[in-house]
């Protein structure tokens, strides 16, 4: 339960906005505004919460006027450190009345007793709404220890954050200090009330919310060399595809990529929730499969697979991934032959995190110079494939050269996607949204808004794996804690055990 100091600040701002107006006289300075976050000239979803910002320029005071095409203008006086806090009710009314239209922003900044008028900017209100909830993990950009870590849900329509579960219970007590990690959350696309995430460490496990019940499950079964890691919930059926990864980290003494996570081994498995059974999807010796993602009809499982293994190439910089998909027959629960979807390795590049839009039109993925864990790789950019034409393009309009753009997810209407980027300071990732228009053009990325526009400047944690949801989490942290305190349900293994694995070649069993 967090105290929202900025609710109070917002009220004060509202009062201030009522008492102030546009300056009577001002000078045109002809310059673009300098605000944080940068909400200039972008497309905004009709249901988004106020896009509050602060004026970065040194100023004595600031006044903003938003003039919509429909309805009356809204004038706001900046509070505190030139914070422009937009009244929520007026904002929502204005967006609702201006769908498909533009909002014009006029910013006046007072410097040395004179008011300056900056070049106006506009925002276009899109009729395409954004899914109202964003789930993410907050983690310090730490290297080994997990620190205080948790999974949270953000209400995008009301700028409110809720804890799903964090590890603070144990982190503060050094007597039970350990690697307690909360990670890899996801929900079922067409039944978003079904969710899952992991609570790692002693007494941990996969926390699965299914059919209104929370359970702790141990998904490591049979000859799997590691537990399950990256999940993909089948859009309609009670199946979760997982990659099972042995993940290592490399700490570079000099390079600007200070840390590089990589996989030593990885394969794909399927968890049948109702049978509580794990079966192998792909057990390979010469490649590694990871980051599964279902096609919206559930007939294909997309994933990325390495062209070799680290044991062969010897250096993670020589390890590259291509995008594949494998057909799935839900009736017989069987798999077809893997198909190459995108060959990045032949271009000396690596493609990871395939995410198909729910309308089946686009495949969004990350491309980098090498590797699969691109969240810390400064060469990582977002690419999009039109699945009708197979045309692939670099989303240059939103990518930040030299900083990682990664971890993306689509809204249920396929009109928006979220991704996390370290573009602002190179170290702390933040979620950004972008709109895809019918031609496949992507609008300028906008940062997650907050009631306090300084929130992400002051937050010393990274947003990790942002994912949309249409419904909120209905369980409380105490429900998850009860599941954690209960005995685990151990999954059975329904595939043959590989007795020939040598532990070196990337086969499923590491001896």
């Amino acid at each position: 339960m967090k105290v929202k100091l900025y609710t109070v600040a917002g009220l004060f701002s509202l009062l201030a906005s009522c008492s102030s107006g546009v300056p009577g006289s001002f000078t045109e300075n002809g310059r673009d505004v300098c605000i944080y976050p940068d909400y200039t000239n972008c497309v905004v979803p009709v249901n988004i919460a106020p896009l509050n910002f602060f004026v970065k320029d040194t100023a004595d005071a600031a006044v903003l006027t938003i003039t919509p095409e429909e309805g009356s203008a809204l004038t706001i006086s900046a509070s505190g450190k030139n914070d422009v806090i937009i009244p929520e009710k007026a904002w929502k009314t204005m967006l609702a009345a201006n769908v498909g239209k533009t909002l014009k922003y006029d910013l006046y900044v007072k410097k040395g007793g004179n008011w300056l008028h900056y070049k106006p900017f506009t925002n276009t209100v899109s009729a395409d709404s954004i899914d109202p909830y964003l789930t993410y993990r907050l983690i310090e950009p730490s290297y080994m220890g997990t620190g205080e870590i948790g999974v949270y849900q953000y209400d995008l329509e009301n700028n409110a954050e809720k804890v799903i579960l964090d590890n603070h219970r144990c982190h503060k007590n050094p007597a039970i200090r350990g690697q307690k990690c909360v990670n890899c959350h996801t929900s079922q696309r067409n039944h978003p009330e079904n969710k899952m995430f992991y609570y790692r460490g002693p007494n941990g496990g996969l926390l699965l919310t299914y059919n209104g019940k929370v359970q702790k499950i141990n998904t490591r079964a049979g000859d799997m060399f590691a537990g399950t890691v990256y999940p993909a919930w089948h859009p309609t059926l009670p199946f979760i595809a997982f990659s099972s990864n042995v993940i290592k980290q490399s700490f570079n003494t000099f390079e600007i990529n200070k840390i590089e996570p990589y996989d030593l081994y990885s394969d794909l498995v399927l968890y049948n929730i109702e049978k509580n059974e794990i079966t192998a999807v792909l057990k390979t010796r010469n490649s590694q499969e990871t980051n599964p993602n279902w096609a919206p009809d559930g007939k294909y499982l997309y994933y990325n697979s390495s062209d070799s293994t680290l044991a062969v190439v010897g250096n993670i910089k020589h390890l590259r991934y291509n995008l594949f998909r494998i057909p799935f027959n839900a009736d017989s629960i069987s798999w077809g032959k893997p198909e190459l979807v995108y060959d990045a390795a032949s271009k000396m590049r690596s493609a990871t995190y395939p995410r198909v839009s729910p309308n089946g039109r686009y495949l969004l993925f990350t491309e980098a110079d090498y590797g699969t864990s691109t969240q810390t790789n400064k060469s990582a950019d977002l690419y999009m494939m039109d699945l009708n034409t197979k045309e692939v393009r670099n989303l240059e309009e939103i990518n930040c050269k030299g900083e990682s753009d990664s971890y993306h997810d689509w809204t249920s209407n396929s009109k928006w996607f979220v991704f996390s980027s370290r573009r602002y300071d190179g170290n702390y990732s933040r979620p950004y949204f972008a709109h895809v228009n019918p031609d496949g053009k992507v609008s300028k990325a906008i940062m997650l808004p907050h009631a306090d526009p300084h929130h992400d400047i002051n937050l010393l944690k990274c947003y990790n794996v942002p994912e949309f949801s249409k419904t909120p989490v209905v369980f409380n942290p105490s429900d998850f804690q009860s599941a954690l305190d209960s005995p685990e349900l151990k999954a059975t293994y329904g595939s043959p055990i590989d007795t020939t694995a040598d532990g070196i070649s990337g086969a499923s069993t590491v001896k």
């Binding site: 310090e140 290297y143 620190g147 200090r177 700490f251 003494t253 300071d425």
Partner: protein, 595 residues
Amino acid sequence: MSFKQTRWICEAVLFIFAFLFLGVFNAEYLYALQAQNLFLANSVFANETLAQSAGVLVYVSKFLNQFLHYPLLGACFMSAGLVGIERLVARLTTCDCYCRLLSVFVPSLLVLLAQTSAGYAIYDNFDTSFAVSLEVGLLLSLGLANAFRLLYAKLGTKGLAVSTVLAIVLYFAIGIFSPFSLLVASASLFASDRKTALHFLLGGVALLLLLPMLATSMVQEDYLFTLLGPLPVPYFKPLFMLAMLTLVSVVMAIAVPIFRDLELMQKTFVTPACVLALCGLTFYFSFRDANYRTELEMKHCVEDMDFDGALKVAETVKRPTRPIAAYRYIALEAKGRLSTDLFNFPVRYDTINSPYTDITDLIFQPDLMLYSSQPNISLLWGMESWTNTKRTVSDLKRFTLTSLIQGEAELSRKYINQLKQTVGYSKWAEDFEPYVGKQQELFNAYPVLGNVYRHQLPMVNSIGIFDLPKVMSSYSQLDPVNMERRLLLHLYSKNTNAFISDLQTVAGMYREKMPMCMQEIVALYAMNTKINLIKYFPIKRDVAERVAGFVKAAEFYAKDHENGAEQLKQYQGSYLYFLLFGNPYPNANNLKSNK
């Protein structure tokens, strides 16, 4: 002298002792309490802090804790608080005799003892604002107990109900001190109104047991934290015990009846002398480990880039600990004296005087790595400390330096903006702000940071959490500055084979001039192996003779290093003396008891 005058004198004794003990004797410790903590004036920090048990008290304490950056100022308000505790305890009982007067000083002195006894816990996951929260919490408890008594006197049973409701509401703000105030109110009524005292007692105990159960599902904390917050958990045994003892002493000082005053106590200055004696006991039982104090001072100097100051402090050390040696190493490195003075130091090392030995490396490794031109590895260690123990302003400062050195402008700006929100470091942040994105200007102003940057190795090497010798050994090729660092670290690790092996690959570096410590080991190698390396290096005759003399003399003490180190003191400062008698990695199991 009247009773009132005696009391004033006693209070003056308490204030002066506490002020001197905190502000002078423990000045570095107070500074460290704030350096090992973090308060930021922003909504993110406020939300995070207020969401934990006793959140308001913790938030206020963290804010006040910042003022310990100025130890005399901190000592002043903390000493005044101790007198305040004494006053409030006295107010809750009938303080009309000298024995009672003496007893009401006990809780304040126990608070003082707890405040000054954190020791090495300050580097662990221990909230160092405890020194403030214990005092402020007690003041609030005692004030509330007074208010509850008044409420009961005015409203009777209704007053009791109002008090209980207030205690429940305040529990979420001040934690354990809220139900404790009901216990204190009970103690204060124990002699006069047993029935009401019992009601307060039952209310206090019930809330103490029930409220944490309710709160634990809301604040997402370990149950012990919720139960005890903001007091330390039993992991920090001495501090936990002292905190509990303090709470018990408050109840005892108020509730235990004194039937007859001692005549002796009524004599002039006897009671003040007794208070002074209690102060003496506080001093005696406090944590005063000399090495700990030296480490605090040296860490402070290094963080302020006062390397001469750090070396001056090191001169007084008799048996160093690893943190002391590390900070001396940093200072020597910064002053360019590593090769000449590294081994000119006492060689018999002590372990740190603490049960929390698993955090020893976190104390110094981030600084050591930074000044050894390994900013990425410094960040790795610093983040380990940040996440595994707690966030500190000290780490934030180093992160700022690291990002400035690496030229990461926006990241530097982010850290600087955070530091500008603090009381003690806003000036520091403003001083460094002009260097954001201006590496060369930074290096001109702070050449030591320029050296860090210049001597980074332009090659990628993937390593983990290792100590410096292992980090340096992991490279296949090094520039002359780093090679000399590696050679010296081989010597420090007593890895003479690796030293000789590396030396032969860079023999050209020492054709004309060679540090004394290296001359010694080359001479010794020649003696032992009959491989005459001497002719390749400028080994002075007197050095060779001295080595021969040492080897001969040391034969008697091969198995008695303590005695040998004493008997062969004339060789102190030489590498061979270190090689034979030095124990730079003392046995971690050989712990001294924690005072």
